[in-house]
């Protein structure tokens, strides 16, 4: 039953993809009107104007370009033109640094806050205000105070990915079942030992869920941050190709951003499964 369901779901996915590609292909076929023009004038104009080529690339254009990128992902033509592999590596490195810093701060801090109902209530309004701020709003402030664009990008990832982790850790720690803590107390377990052997395992699934939300946010943020500060990374690639109005490359970047984001999420999902326990 389960396998047949999976099989059928897979089939539907493939049909949907094929339908999507088909509609895309039909919608972007060369159909635009072209005005009559002299050959010397036509030589100076782009394909959209001369052949009525759609401004939106079709799936075949994107496929061909993607193949070109995949064949040489690590080329380096100077500071402003590097292969997609290098750009992705830069982005992942930035996300990794900012995210790890956020983990290092959010989990211990969340633990402390979660164990103290007073602090948790007192800090709540601040966290609630800081949580919904967009990365692009932080950027000018970061650039202005830190005075270094690459550190600013990391800071923005840090500041945006810290909140879900912090909130989830606080929530997870605060809602550990009272019975378990009471049992630990009757057994005269010390505070530190109680934190690591009772509370941490009990709160771990909630904390991991927070981390999973955070990695998604960090990856969302990096593209916006890199578009702004430029230099390297997949966000810069999108901006650079947008500059050249190369929608084909922008679509490829979108596809890759999606795939990498999914992979990051899957890794965290696996960790979450490892710490989940049946009650």
């Amino acid at each position: 039953m389960s396998t047949s369901l999976r099989l059928r779901a897979g089939l539907v996915s493939i049909v949907l993809l094929a339908a999507f590609l088909g509609i895309w292909h039909l919608a972007t076929r060369t159909t635009g009107a072209t005005a009559a023009m002299s050959p010397e004038y036509a030589k100076l104009m782009g394909l959209t104007a001369t052949q009525g080529k759609s401004a939106m690339p079709g799936p075949l254009d994107v496929g061909a370009k993607l193949w070109e990128h995949l064949r040489r992902p690590f080329y380096d033509n100077g500071p402003n033109d590097k292969g997609l592999g290098i750009q992705l590596a830069y982005s992942i490195a930035r996300v990794g640094t900012g995210y790890l810093l956020a983990v290092l701060v959010a989990i211990p801090l969340g633990f402390l806050i979660g164990m103290s109902p007073l602090l948790s209530k007192a800090l709540d309004p601040f966290i609630q205000v800081l949580k919904p701020i967009s990365p692009l709003a932080w950027m000018p402030l970061a650039l202005y105070t830190i005075k270094d664009s690459s550190i600013s990008a990391i800071f923005v990832i840090f500041i945006c990915s810290i909140w879900p982790m912090l909130l989830n850790t606080v929530f997870g720690v605060a809602t550990v079942r009272k019975e378990w803590i009471n049992v630990a107390r009757t057994l005269e377990v010390g505070t530190l030992r109680r934190a690591f052997t009772v509370i941490l395992p009990a709160a771990a699934p909630t904390i991991l869920t927070g981390m999973r939300i955070s990695i998604g946010i960090a990856w969302l943020v990096i593209v916006a941050a890199e578009m702004l500060v430029g230099g390297t990374g997949i966000g810069y690639f999108v901006w650079n190709e947008w500059n050249n109005l190369s929608i084909t490359n922008v679509i490829i970047a979108i596809l890759l951003i999606g795939i990498v984001g999914m992979l990051l999420d899957q890794i965290l999902a696996r960790f979450t499964r490892m710490v989940t326990f049946p009650e």
Partner: protein, 460 residues
């Protein structure tokens, strides 16, 4: 007279009197120069040699009569040979050409990917930075605000900025006041007003009421020129139309999406809109003011004082590249050099049309205007004064402005003049010149009257 006319043209007047200041007339000078430049001088080394040699001659013969007598009696080539025997002209020239060793060799220069940045960009692939002993990385940047912040943060040693930006930064408009300076103008002309194709019958600006226009930045020549143009046609740019600050690449997309009706933008963006069939060239910015500056090469005062030799070498490289770019025969090669993704990242055809001046106008015609974009590095202080008058006119500056003081602080005409003379180029004698914008003459000495003379302006 352009800065790049042949420096060994005897008929050219470098200063009052004559080029070297030792002769009363150009004719007298001609003789001496002809004596020193025994053969047509083309290369850089020769140019420096000439400069050094004339300095030595002047030192040896403080009396002009004596020198002429000497030259007449022995002949020019003998004089040169004799001179080189007891004075190491060769070595002196080399020392002179190297100037001071740069304090910092590895530099970062930021640019925005538009053809205005041509000298800054091409100096990398065509080796102008290397020639002046520098290892420069040119870094593409996302927008004017970012380039400003990164230069202020010292991530960039120098940068490509819109000509009014260093003035605005120095005055603290839209940023903290940090003294900046402009040693060279990047390009003159080279912008345009592009309208959406649907407006092809609305060529009279009087019909433009209610339209939406994009400009690249508030502190830009584009903003001032568009406002000037609209106001001359009786439209108040603050109330009759909408002006929006839009990053150049998004202008074409916005024009296609019908979010804006047109823009006054830097080139390759104008030509790109035509190339993609979404707009047409209404007017070249040259037709508003022929010879207007657009972008500048800027650095902070701090960089100039901490690394004066690096700064001088950079300026030399830029002036050199600008000189190369000003020649029509080099333009095709430049277009190819700056088109790849590492630099401007645009189709070569588009850049070629901009740089060579033979372009499709978007209405089915091919037009030619060799001066569509041109390159002349001299930072005229009168340009700065004009920009200040417009900042005042449109309320960006409130209160009184000391036009000359600001212009002289930001636009380094004196230093650039000295540097250009050393390079054997011929900078103009004065840093101020009068020019006409849409037929109305601007006198830099009467800036306040000029501001007051406009009927349409922001009440202050």
């Amino acid at each position: 007279m352009s800065t790049f006319d042949n420096p060994f043209d005897p008929n050219r007047n470098l200063r009052d009197g004559c080029a070297c200041g030792q002769h009363r007339s150009v004719a007298e000078h001609e003789q001496a120069t002809a004596a020193l430049s025994c053969e047509p001088v083309e290369s850089e080394e020769k140019r420096y040699e000439g400069v050094v040699a004339s300095a030595v001659m002047r030192a040896m013969f403080p009396q002009d009569v004596a020198r002429r007598a000497f030259l007449k009696s022995v002949g020019a080539s003998t004089a040169l040979a004799a001179l080189s025997q007891f004075f190491p002209l060769q070595t002196a020239t080399e020392v002179f050409a190297q100037a001071g060793t740069p304090e910092k060799k590895d530099l970062k220069v930021g640019f925005i990917p538009i053809t205005c940045a041509t000298p800054i960009i091409m100096a990398a692939p065509l080796g102008f930075y290397a020639k002046h002993g520098l290892n420069v990385e040119v870094v593409k940047t996302a927008g004017w605000a970012v380039i400003r912040d990164k230069t202020i943060n010292k991530e960039y040693d120098a940068a490509h900025m819109l000509a009014p930006m260093p003035i605005a930064i120095s005055l603290g408009l839209g940023a903290n006041a940090i003294p900046f300076a402009v040693p060279a103008i990047e390009n003159i002309n080279g912008q345009g007003i592009v309208l959406a194709t649907k407006h092809k019958d609305k060529r009279d600006p009087k019909d433009w009421k209610g339209m939406k226009f994009a400009i690249p930045f508030d502190y830009s020549m584009h903003n001032y020129l568009l406002r000037y143009y609209l106001a001359e046609h009786g439209l108040d740019p603050d109330t009759d139309v909408q002006l929006r600050s839009v990053p150049p690449p998004e202008m074409v997309a916005n024009l296609r999406a019908d979010n804006i009706d047109g823009f006054l933008a830097p080139d390759n963006i104008c030509q790109r809109a035509i190339y993609d069939g979404v707009g047409f060239m209404h007017l070249l910015s040259k037709e508003i003011w022929d010879g207007h500056p657009c972008c500048s090469f800027a650095a902070s005062r701090e960089f100039i004082t901490t690394a004066p030799n690096s700064f001088a070498a950079l300026t030399r490289a830029i002036v050199d590249a600008t000189a190369y770019a000003s020649k029509a025969e080099n333009r095709k090669q430049i277009a190819e050099a700056i088109a790849p993704a590492n630099y401007i990242n645009a189709p070569v055809t588009v850049l070629e049309q901009v740089l060579t001046g033979t372009y499709a106008d978007g209405l089915g015609g091919v037009k030619t205007d060799a001066k569509r974009v041109d390159f002349d590095p001299f930072p005229w202080q009168s340009f700065a004064v004009w920009m200040l008058t417009q900042m005042k006119r449109w309320g960006q500056i409130k209160g009184d402005v000391d036009y000359k003081a600001v212009a002289e602080q930001v636009y380094l005409a004196t230093d650039t003049k000295k540097l250009m003379t050393e390079m054997g180029l011929s900078p103009p004698a004065s840093a101020y010149k009068s020019f006409a914008v849409m037929g109305k003459t601007f006198d830099p000495a009467k800036a306040e009257d000029y501001v007051a003379s406009f009927k349409i302006r922001k009440a202050s």
